[in-house]
Amino acid sequence: MTHFTPFASLFGGALIGLSAVALLLLNGRIAGISGITAGLLSLSGQAPDRGWRIAFVIGLVVAPLTLMLISGERPGIDFIAPLPIMLLAGFIVGFGTVLGNGCTSGHGVCGIARLSPRSIIATAVFMTTGIATTYVVHHLLAGG
């Protein structure tokens, strides 16, 4: 189990919001991670659109490492599922976010902030199935 971290989580969330505002102000785009990533998979290849997406993902990967170097503290990353389940989960997340046009960031943060009805419904749905899946895996199947 993990501990309740209201202040760090609120501050981290505010930085995620700042990122979304920065991307809209600078590039005029919504900060949806699944959309930004899936946009890189275009086979037809819109080259001018590719650079900022790659740069965003590079920033996303480099930032936690840089933070670790500065603070000298490695962030906790603990897995609750073995590799085969992670592979299955990854595939479902990738498929689902493209089909549903967004994930926690695009729908859950940016969409809700814009009061988009699609995003409000999508967030309610993925929260519900996420909670239900966790209940099934960690209580029904685990017998706890």
């Binding site: 981290g12 969330g13 991307l23 994930c103």
Partner: protein, 149 residues
């Protein structure tokens, strides 16, 4: 070139936010989703902080006629609730609950060299690719390229 800088700045801020908030940790995400167990409500605070800053910031930015590095804003305009949205969000939640990863934290965790993270991201990219290829045929609704609402 400016757009690439815009992407990099936003990506760095996002990655720092995920790291500080604790959302980069799959166990913490499951702690949040496990409302019937040892519930850790932290992620509600991540969303609260994110939505509050975005809501205020978006309103301010959208008073401008255009962004700094592009000729115009590219915003989702659809408001209809359709089957792909509901099915996609349902599936996404199931995968999120299974692994404790959504796309952002999985990418942000790549640098720490865990096989679980690497495998999740590889499978996620494959899932995205398959969805883009097959969704049109399955639902006869065009899945817009690289757009999230």
């Amino acid at each position: 070139m400016a757009r690439i800088l815009g992407g990099l700045i936003a990506g760095l801020l996002f990655g720092v936010g995920l790291s500080i908030s604790g959302m980069i940790n799959p166990a913490k995400v499951i702690g949040f989703l496990d409302i019937f167990g040892a519930w850790d409500p932290s992620l509600a605070f991540v969303m609260l902080g994110g939505v509050a800053v975005t809501a205020i910031g978006y309103r301010t930015v959208l008073r401008r006629s255009q962004p700094l590095f592009e000729p115009g804003f590219i915003l989702p305009t659809r408001r209809d609730i359709d089957l792909p949205l509901l099915a996609g969000a349902s599936l996404f939640g199931i995968g999120w609950g299974l692994g404790g990863y959504c796309p952002g934290p999985a990418l942000a965790g790549l640098g720490f060299g865990n096989l679980e993270t690497l495998g999740f991201v590889a499978a996620m990219v494959l899932g995205m690719f398959v969805a883009r290829q097959s969704a049109n045929a399955l639902f006869s609704t065009k899945v817009k390229a690289g757009r999230s609402s």
